[in-house]
């Protein structure tokens, strides 16, 4: 009586498989089209970043660091970037960056309208909340499976998985930002005869902007974290270096590529957080 009875068995996986097959059969070309356009954007961004002379990129990051944080910060970021270049990872870093950038853009484009939509639809929220929770707590590897199924191996599924993983904070924080606009302010907008759209664009979104910017910061960090994992399905980049190093137990290589990712994460986080802070509306 200690073993679980064999009579109780559920075969759900097979239905998921049917569903995915059905999707591929009837909407295969839709996914192909989506995949093709993502790939086109991705390749162009990547090409541009790699084409960019290295010192211009370092200079841009230096100036951003200086303007957004302070002079020393800019200097530090520039030095750290040169360090990554010194490891021989310049191009790989740009590939990683390209995937992060495009995933963040897609997350913003989908996440902000969705976040706004949820604020206005309490019923949807009931079901969105657990979905978002699940999306965030699920081990990130799991996203690789549908990505693989829908797009095969390569860069596109990597972007897809990265986007899904980094989308929730964008939706959540947009919703939070819009919902937390003081009630009296929204009422004032209504009292002066604003339409819903005017209220949204002139009052709610500007008020929610700091929170939305924080959302973009978080989304970027999530995307960066995921990009390492998504290299498992064939996205070239720093993540793949780490994977290779692990499989070969190459400590030196693992350290250098790991450190590069950490550096990239720190720079992106500080810069985007700095930008987010600029939009804060001081209370007093």
């Amino acid at each position: 009586m200690t073993n679980f009875p064999a009579a109780i068995s559920f075969k759900i996986g097979i239905y998921v498989e049917y569903f995915v097959k059905w999707l591929m059969k009837y909407y295969g070309n839709v996914f192909d089209a989506i995949g093709a356009s993502i790939l086109w954007f991705l390749l162009n961004i990547e090409k541009f970043l790699i084409w960019l002379p290295w010192w211009i990129f370092v200079l841009v990051i230096f100036i951003m660091g200086w303007r957004i944080k302070k002079f020393m910060a800019g200097l530090l970021y520039a030095a750290l970037l040169i360090l990554i270049g010194g490891f021989g990872y310049w191009e790989l870093m740009m590939s990683t960056l390209a995937v992060v950038l495009i995933s963040v853009v897609i997350s913003v484009v989908i996440g902000i309208p969705l976040g706004i939509f949820i604020t206005y639809n309490a019923k949807i929220e009931v079901f969105m909340k657990p979905t978002l929770d699940a999306m965030q707590t699920m081990p990130s590897f799991v996203y690789l499976i549908p990505a693989l199924l829908l797009f095969g191996l390569g860069k596109v599924p990597a972007v897809f998985a990265t986007t899904i993983y980094s989308l929730p904070p964008m939706i959540r924080l947009t919703e939070l930002g819009v919902r937390n606009v003081p009630k009296e302010m929204v009422e004032a907008a209504h009292a002066f005869g604003s339409s819903k759209w005017q209220t949204l664009v002139k009052v709610q979104l500007p008020q929610a902007l700091p929170t939305i910017m924080t959302g973009i910061n978080q989304t970027t960090m999530m995307a960066l974290a995921m990009v390492v994992i998504s290299s498992m399905i064939g996205a070239k980049g720093l993540g793949m270096e780490v994977l290779i190093a692990i499989s070969r137990i190459d400590i030196a290589r693992g350290f250098e590529s790991g450190l590069s990712i950490v550096i990239l994460a720190i720079i992106i986080d500080r810069l985007s957080q700095g930008i987010a802070n600029r939009y804060k509306i001081p209370e007093k």
């Binding site: 009292a191 500007p206 209370e283 007093k284």
Partner: protein, 390 residues
């Protein structure tokens, strides 16, 4: 005097199914009972009143009495459960979306208790908001906004942010924002309640000033009786969603309709509200110049008084005679005119009692109330002034 806002049998119930509670309310169930049994809150219960054009109509009541609910029904921030609200003759409750937006843009402005300013906009950006929503051109709206800011005394602060302003100044921005649209009606929901007493007084005076110039129709909400009586042409007192009494301040003060209102008004400084006309009396005795000395003596003796006012044939006040002087004059053969005393105080009907206190306490004769043409209207006895102090 034309009616600007006419509210008829307005009821507002908060909750899931407001309509289902209506019958209970009509059967006379109390607000508490309805809340306990159905979870619905009665905000307004069958409220009717009218506001005249150019009038400042104050709604006063304790917290939770439904004042805000009422004000917010007037621009449909709250949708009434039942009833009609006519503004300039058309029922705004039946407005469709576009009509409502136009109504809010052009006819009615609102000032909020906690200002409700847009913190991401500059002062002028706030004031321009209503015009912007209406689609007024950039240049025109900045001109109008600047002019309006001058009206409320905020010139030079245009490009600051609300956070850089004191509470009083923020509410001036709130007022300017409402005025910029040049609405006929201003809804002010406890606009000064969040301010310090001294600043509150300044703002009240300023509002009186602005109102004297602009002559808007104002619906002003407050829980402060003194504020209500200072600003209101007429005052409505609310309790549990019902209007308990409507009247001019003196009326409510002199004849409170019930104990709740009497309680409410008891700590009002009556001397600032009550005017000469509220405490003056028609004198029992009055002598005309042509009557002569003997009539004067007889008037005073029959009424048991020691002095009497004398008027001419047009009822214009000429002076006052005492009984001693009059009897002496009869013996000496003088005329009434010769013994008239002029050292008495006169006042107009609209003078506050506060201003009468010093003259009432020192002078031995009653105070005469006269109109602009010096026509005699009545007298104020010292005791009535002193009685108002209690």
């Amino acid at each position: 005097m034309t009616v600007k806002i006419q509210v008829e049998n307005l009821t507002k119930i908060f909750g899931r199914n407001p309509k289902t509670v209506l019958t209970r309310l009509k059967n006379g169930d109390s607000k508490d009972a309805i809340f306990k049994e159905t979870g619905h809150t009665v905000g307004l219960n069958n409220v009717s009143f009218e506001v005249n054009t150019g009038e400042t109509f104050v709604i006063m009541g304790l917290s939770g009495s439904g004042k805000s609910t009422l004000a917010r029904c007037l621009n449909l921030l709250n949708t009434p459960t039942e009833g009609k609200i006519h503004v300039d003759g058309s029922n705004i409750v039946e407005y469709n979306k576009n009509e409502l937006r136009e109504f809010r843009q052009k006819k009615v402005g609102m000032v909020f208790q906690h200002f409700g300013l847009f913190t991401h906009r500059t002062v002028i950006g706030n004031v321009e908001y209503g015009l912007e929503v209406r689609g007024v051109s950039t240049q025109e709206r900045s001109e109008i906004a600047k002019k309006t800011l001058d009206t409320v005394g905020l010139e030079g602060w245009e490009y600051r942010y609300p956070r850089e302003l004191s509470g009083g100044m923020r509410q001036r921005v709130g007022l300017a924002r409402a005025l910029a649209n040049d609405p006929d009606i201003l809804l002010m929901d406890e606009p000064f309640s969040a301010l310090d007493p001294l600043i509150r007084r300044d703002m009240q005076l300023e509002l009186l000033d602005i109102q004297a110039k602009l002559k808007k129709t104002i619906v002003f909400i407050t829980h402060d009786v003194n504020e209500a009586f200072k600003l209101g042409d007429r005052v409505a007192v609310m309790k549990d969603g019902v209007i308990e009494q409507i009247g001019v301040p003196e009326e409510i003060l002199a004849q409170p309709a019930n104990d709740y209102i009497a309680d409410f008004v008891q700590d009002v400084d009556k001397t600032k509200i009550l005017q000469a006309k509220n405490i003056m009396v028609k004198p029992n005795a009055l002598v005309s110049l042509k009557d002569g000395l003997k009539v004067a003596v007889k008037e005073m003796q029959t009424n048991g008084i020691s002095s009497v006012f004398v008027v001419d044939s047009e009822r214009k006040l000429q002076g006052l005679v005492t009984i001693d002087d009059t009897i002496a004059a009869i013996k000496e053969g003088k005329t009434l005119k010769e013994i008239l005393i002029k050292e008495y105080e006169t006042t107009s009907a609209g003078t506050c009692i506060q201003e009468l206190i010093p003259i009432a306490t020192y002078k031995k004769y009653p105070i005469a109330v006269v109109d602009e043409e010096n026509k005699f209207m009545g007298i104020i006895m010292r005791v009535s002034v002193l009685a108002a102090l209690i």
